[in-house]
């Protein structure tokens, strides 16, 4: 199976006078279509690693290949474009734009990239809202939706550009048991049906058990990396 993501000797340090090493050398290969849980205690570097994979930040040393592209060679504009087209984000807090309706939020990534809302963008957005079970909430503002619904709109937005990679940072961390479970099953289903590679940061060990693979970080290093259930 082709690799969707290759992390090669990545370190990340912050500060110039007092240097904090957040990542001390990570090597990781993720196959296309894999569903990975990134776990570890607070401060272990899992969110830092997710930001690097999501191209929101650059590694101090080492290389990250996404979809066959060496991302270190891209300039800021190139990173923004790559991020927009190939990566979908879901965060602990939905971070929908409160000024826009659910449907508009889902259309924004394409709108930002193409400068207009094409018929195809609209169709895709409507279909995605259907897929996450919210077609009847298309014209609601985020403040009119429940936490679980907001997170499902955020997932629809993350999928709007048909990304190869979906990154989720504690996607269920802010939800009750039932909504959280619903959101997780949605992610899992999209992973299977659409063959999207997923990397999920989570505190929840039971959630990690339901992924394909669990990469556990401690103190900026991979502590263990185990297959959990196998793809599918």
């Amino acid at each position: 199976m082709a690799e969707a993501l290759i992390i090669d000797g990545v370190t990340k340090s912050y500060g110039t006078e007092v240097v904090t090493l957040a990542l001390r050398g990570i090597d990781l290969a993720v196959a296309a279509g894999e569903f990975i849980a990134l776990t570890g205690p607070s401060g272990s570097g899992k969110s830092t690693l997710l930001n690097l994979i999501g191209l929101l930040d650059r590694p101090t040393t080492g290389r990250i290949h996404l979809d066959g592209t060496e991302t270190g060679t891209l300039d800021a504009e190139g990173l923004a474009r790559f991020r927009g087209r190939r990566i979908g984000f879901v965060f602990q807090f939905h971070h929908l734009l409160p000024e826009f309706t659910a449907l508009e939020n889902v259309m924004l990534p394409a709108f930002a990239d193409e400068g207009r809302i094409s018929e195809e963008t609209r169709r895709t957005a409507v279909r995605l809202l259907e897929e996450v079970g919210l077609s009847d909430r298309a014209d609601y503002k985020p403040s009119q939706l429940s936490g679980g619904q907001q997170q499902r709109v955020a997932i629809a937005r993350a999928l709007a550009r048909s990304p190869a990679l979906l990154l989720a940072d504690e996607p269920t961390g802010n939800l009750d048991q039932e909504s959280g479970d619903q959101v997780f099953r949605l992610l899992r289903r999209l992973n299977v049906e659409r063959r999207i590679t997923c990397v999920i940061v989570t505190h929840d060990d039971r959630l990690a058990e339901r992924c394909d693979r669990n990469v556990h970080l401690v103190d900026g290093r991979v502590d263990f990396d185990k297959q959990v259930r196998g793809v599918g």
Binding site: A80, F91, L97, P98, E99, P109, A112, R157
Partner: protein
């Protein structure tokens, strides 16, 4: 740009209270600017019109006799004595050619010759010192509109007919049709019939002016065929100074513009204009600070959304433009309200106090160009005020704002 505009508009619309407050602020600022400009312009134009209503823009006359040293030995104590010779009425040499040359100067719209000199007006026991203005009423009307200032009789003067100032008529007890004797320096006298009374709009002139035909004045002052001054009107009054300087140079005559002869007035107008500009500058500054602070707060409030937009691929340039557009839009929309406010204030003040003749005491000059200028200033101010907040927005680190 459509995306940026769409997001900017939505941000403004959803931040209702802030947007309303800052729009009101901009409107008040722009309204003040419009009202103030209109008022100052109106006042200045009215003052200038009153001043220039009875005088030519440029008066060209022969150069004065220069002072010269007289008597004495340069070595003697105190050195030579310098005296100014008494100035007598002098004729402009070959005035027809000079007048034609002046009329050909760019910016000149009318030229008229006059003969001016002092005299005494006698009637019965009454004697008044007067200023004779010998002119052709028809030709001179292109310089100063005398016709509309006639309050009794007519302007038409030929032969031994005269038009005199209303105050002079009052002092000498003259009504239209009465006779008036004029006595000049060399003892020559002539009798004129008063054909009309004129109100020049200035008490001093009304007490002194006696208008007689050009030819009659030439005879009276012994300037047969000559004129003492050539008066000029230009199309752009504030170019008079420059045109006068050019005329002096080309003709060798003394050309004085209204700007020189009314130096004090001009200083007054200029300081009025500069204080108005200063007030407007501070208003613009206050508007700019208002817009900048509202946007700065908005950037902080929306930092998470900005981070998210960056995460889904929105470039920093687009984020920058979203906030610049907000600033520009606030400036533009606010200025539209400001135009209404300024017009309202202007109309209110103009109607507040009226002169006896029905004209307004506050001559407010409202013009389309002023609105456009105010709107442009407000829009550009908005854009510039947004630069710092917009740059801050564009430089946010998405990884940090999304987490925090």
């Amino acid at each position: 740009m459509i995306f940026e505009w769409h997001v900017a508009r939505r941000f403004l619309r959803e931040g209702r209270t802030q947007t309303t407050l800052i729009l009101t602020g901009v409107a008040v600022g722009v309204g003040t600017i419009i009202f103030l400009s209109a008022l100052i312009t109106g006042l200045q134009e009215s003052i200038i019109e009153r001043t220039l209503g009875n005088q030519a823009h440029i008066v060209v006359r022969p150069a004065e006799d220069v002072p010269r040293a007289v008597g004495g030995n340069p070595e003697a104590a105190g050195g030579p004595r310098v005296i100014r010779p008494p100035q007598k009425i002098r004729a402009v040499q070959r005035w027809q050619q000079v007048a034609a040359a002046l009329a050909a100067e760019p910016g000149v719209i009318a030229v008229a010759p006059t003969v001016n000199g002092p005299a005494f007006a006698l009637r019965g026991d009454g004697t008044k010192a007067v200023a004779i203005r010998g002119l052709d009423p028809k030709g001179y009307s292109a310089i100063v509109d005398l016709e509309q200032r006639i309050v009794a009789g007519t302007l038409g003067i030929t032969g031994f007919q005269a038009v005199i100032g209303v105050e002079l008529a009052k002092n000498l007890g003259i009504v239209v049709g009465d006779k008036l004797r004029l006595l000049v320096g060399d003892g020559t006298t002539a009798i004129y019939t008063v054909n009309g009374l004129i109100d020049i709009g200035n008490k001093d002139l009304n007490e002194r002016w006696v208008l007689i035909p050009l030819r009659a004045a030439q005879t009276l002052f012994g300037l047969e065929g000559g004129v003492s001054t050539i008066e000029v009107k230009v199309n752009e009054i504030f170019t008079a100074q420059a045109i006068a300087a050019r005329m002096s140079q080309t003709t060798g005559l003394d050309a004085e513009s209204w700007m020189t002869s009314n130096g004090q007035l001009l200083v007054g107008l200029r300081s009025q204009a500069s204080s108005s500009i200063m007030i407007q500058t501070f208003v613009v500054l206050a508007v700019a600070l208002g817009i900048a602070s509202v946007l700065a707060v908005s950037v902080v409030q929306k930092s998470k959304e900005i981070g998210i937009m960056m995460a889904f691929g929105t470039s920093r340039a687009k984020i920058l433009r979203i906030f610049l557009l907000q600033g520009g839009a606030v400036g533009l929309v606010g200025s539209l309200g400001g135009v209404l406010l300024g017009v309202g204030l202007g109309a209110f003040f103009a109607g507040l106090v009226r002169n006896p003749d029905g004209s307004s005491t506050f001559p407010v000059e409202l013009r389309g160009a002023l609105y456009l200028r105010a709107a442009a200033v407000a829009t550009i101010t908005g854009l510039l005020a947004a630069v710092i907040p917009a740059r801050r927005a564009a430089s946010l680190d998405p990884a940090v704002t999304i987490r925090g």
